[in-house]
Symmetry: D2
Subunit: 335 residues, 4 copies
């Protein structure tokens, strides 16, 4: 039985509590939040959980095995470092931390202490992403040529991080999970419509040695909610529309094949347009699988799917995107 | 009565012939195409129009007042220059020409000879764009903050121009027509999946002094056809979905208002989410209005809506985008 | 403080418990279900509620003021009769009971004892229906000419009631709430694809003196979920699409006006097609309002919106529809 | 080479002319319409076709082999009778004629004279219906249990025929083509919102010996255009949505299987919900295939797909539906 403490009972906290509560081999001992009204809410629904104002009460509790950190990004590093130092396994909300350097220190510490360090990239556990992974692993798409994602909404402007740090971790984790090739560079552009210089609309292009390209469009300022991802292979293509209630994934038997003709005046591409196939998606709650993967990982000393490798790679891209935006869209090399 | 010759009877040519044919004050005297089978098609439907193999037969015909050029972009300049030199009014398909320099020479020539020089940016004459223009002119959106356009499809790979030169003129002409502010710079990225180095997927960010930003996503490699444009103002926002048969424009009574609070830890933005309004769109054929604007412009020596100013501005952005892509996404200044 | 007992903890029961639990002026004392595993589930989430196997334990509990009955329809009458006889206010799930006669006896008893008797027609409390009611009351639609509803899905075949008794109460309650005219007759047709003769697909036409007509299409056998209602007035028309997440209601500025021309060879109708307006819908949980209306009704001796009048009228139509189906679609008079 | 005359150049006439014009082995000699402005339109587009005011000029022209009749329904019988009497093959627009009796006389005459008599049920030649037919013939759906069709729109009120005579021939022809079982009876209801008593909204239920059921919902008074047909088998189900531009047909791997359990308190049905498959549809123009089937039928003395048998069966159902509506929805036996 793993004893767990959760730090942060804001927007995501109640979902974490609900899912870890119903997890086997796991017991939520305490939840910390500095806002008394949030603790009041917790007590009403979960009278058996200890509600504390101070995160230290969790980090220093010798009886707690694992700490889940669901606080603003800028606090991740200090809280996780203390928890790991105190010998606790850690699950961090996405993104992992505020910089590559912070992530590397946490990973080093976890390795030294032989502790789990996982990042909650929930999307990797959705039925839709699992199905796409299965399709790609079965080589149904052929060589993957591009991933193009739009994630826009009327979203809460965050005071500390820009829209890429807020929304892109979803797309970047899916991208990293589905296509393991290492990117060599990134370009990003964006705009801030507030006086704090934090971008509320931003775009990212990620370049890969093989000719694969990824593009992200993130916005807090769209009147409509769009969560659409296209993944194009040279055999088939996928449309992943996450706002669709049931038909989230469509596989198009559509392809373009490049001919090796050298005559530049000729059209060099062959087309095929065919049927569409809509696989049934497992409609489970992804966060339950996250909780299970974390607890199992702790119990069995096993690397979870949403590993710190993925967490680090995503912060690398976010850090590079910020550099690019601040330098007028210039290409930033990765590594 | 304006006597017209049309050069090029490929994909767009039959639409031009049909619309100019039913235009008042206009007579199609000849159509040229170097492919005999295309001329055969023309003769079958329009036995009264002279079908010629050679564009020169039109350009040199003293009886023809105006020439419409619907050939590949790289031929625009030579054909238009000769036609203007021979004293003929010219309507060019989009984009106007292959470079800013070419456009400037043509404009100079048209001014010298006092001839019409118009570019067929058809979208400016659609009921949808006219309605959006009307809404913006009535200040219903407030200060416009961004335009974000996605125009992707399984499109024919062009052998001579990349996907931005092919598709972006539509978006750029709409952008230029709706928002007259001069951009100061552009960033573009993209990828070629063929051996000719011509991009089939590309992205463009256009930067403006006021903080307004425009972004274009163009692709010939999408299994689904998306033609979606978001225009965000600080009072209302528009979703223009061109693949919708009837509800092309939705006006969202949605806004975010930036507070002038200096406390950076506060969320600085106020939200409002309200009703949606779907105006009825005039369902006329846009190309009929293009034909009418050109003929009227010739008869009354009037600048058409889709003027050479717009044509030139678009080629400026396309040229800059190509420079940016070739220079790894670097910012290119406009003018 | 009203003390409440709930009978039935099946599909709908947990929703009732959750909503009455968070209701002010109300205390759930006990929940009854004959299935121990259902009670187990209840105890896990609500340790403070008394879980009992026998409905009698609730009906005979002198400490309980009001009873909510969420059991199969054929049990409604006996349970409600006993509860009312024991002096308890009653909220019945829809439909009210198995026959007009049963409904009338219950109403008589409630009147004698001066007790609340309410039927849970939840749809009357949704933001969408409230908005439509508001629009109709403001005479925006003009004279209402028809209501056409399709409610089809892959639904659980009920062993005791046909698809109209199962699904039509939703449509009939909305119809009755929005259009108070008394119908004079009904026709119904349908088919049973099982060996028990209970229709899984059925259709109902309801006829009104004014020329208004209502039509219902109900099915448990559709691969797609459709919940679409059209309400046509001679000034405007409404499309109510309940499976749309946000744009549930569209008001079409569309009308046809009948001319009083006597020449039968002339087309007698004028058309107008205009804009569409999508009002913002309050996204509250309807069942919370049901709970509030019931508790308030008990406390203030006030007739709730979803009154027994509505409950009875719906059973009248259901009973008549069954008669019509069994008599090959013959017209059945109402009253 | 078949010489053809077309009577009626109204809404559908230009489509007939265009398609027969481009048909091989066929020559349009003349088109008749009593309205000079319609003939003017014809002359402008087809200067080689003889434009005549009087239908008799076509029917009596010894040089014409086949007559196409695209006039109001009430004129079909007299025109077709004369044409057949004069030894001409006949293609009639749908519905075939105003009564079963008229249809039977025309069929008798065609058989006597050994002439083609075809009805233009265009939908039978669409790529979508051909694909559904192919799927059903391959027994992919299993035993077909129901067909449910909604065909509603803001349509022109016809002065001579009700909405079922106007719209239902489309659904009835598809139904008859896909499911050849003979129905035994029909029920219909409807309402007229004009002073001429002609229904503008109507519903039809068609009953079959096997337990298959068909239902039609037709309206000229809907603000939205819906053309949706569900076809449910016990192995799979089809959704045919004709207003979808590309994904017209969806095959749901969804089924309900009736158990032979006699216990009526048990739920008797097993469910399966699976993937969805969207086959590519041939996007040809259906009317070109109609023209080809007619001309080929004449040349090779072959029964066309859209035979007079289908034409007659549809008029039987329409006639019965009218009887049912006029008799308050009573069941009308077929044959």
């Amino acid at each position: 039985m793993i004893k767990v403490g959760i730090i942060g009972y804001g927007y995501w906290g109640p979902n974490l509590v609900r899912n870890f509560f119903s997890q086997k081999d796991c017991n939520i001992k305490a939840v910390a939040d500095s806002r008394p009204n949030r603790l009041e809410l917790l007590r009403k629904s979960y009278p058996t959980i200890n509600a504390v104002l101070n995160a230290e009460d969790i980090i220093n509790d010798a009886d707690i095995d694992a700490v889940i950190i669901a606080t603003p990004v800028f606090t991740h590093f200090e809280l996780a470092k203390k928890a790991l130092s105190n010998g606790k396994h850690v699950l961090l909300e996405k993104p992992m931390a505020s910089s590559v350097k912070e992530c590397e220190i946490l990973i080093e510490l976890a390795l030294q202490k032989n502790l789990q360090l996982m990042v909650d990239h929930t999307f990797l556990y959705t039925g839709a992403v699992e199905k796409i992974k299965e399709i790609i692993d079965a080589d149904i798409l052929g060589n993957i040529k591009y991933l193009d994602s739009t994630r826009i909404n009327l979203g809460l402007f965050q005071p500390d991080i820009n829209v890429l740090w807020d929304l892109a971790p979803h797309d970047l984790s899916i991208l990293r999970y589905l296509h393991e090739e290492k990117p060599y560079s990134i370009n990003a552009t964006g705009i801030s419509h507030t006086n704090n210089g934090i971008e509320n609309i931003a775009f990212m292009t990620i370049n890969y040695p093989s000719g694969f390209i990824a593009h992200l469009n993130c916005s807090w300022s769209s009147p409509v909610k769009v969560r659409m991802m296209l993944i194009g292979g040279d055999k088939k293509m996928i449309l992943y529309n996450d706002v669709e209630p049931t038909e989230k994934i469509k596989i198009y038997d559509t392809a373009y094949q490049v001919k090796t003709d050298d005559d530049k005046n000729q059209i060099l591409v062959d087309y095929r347009v065919g049927d569409i196939y809509v696989p049934k998606i497992n409609s489970k709650e992804a966060l339950a699988s996250v909780a299970n993967d974390f607890i199992t990982g702790v119990l069995e000393s096993k690397m979870p799917r949403s590993s710190y490798h993925i967490g680090l790679d995503i912060v690398k891209l976010l850090e590079a995107s910020e550099q690019s935006i601040k330098n007028k869209g210039i290409e930033i090399k990765i590594n």
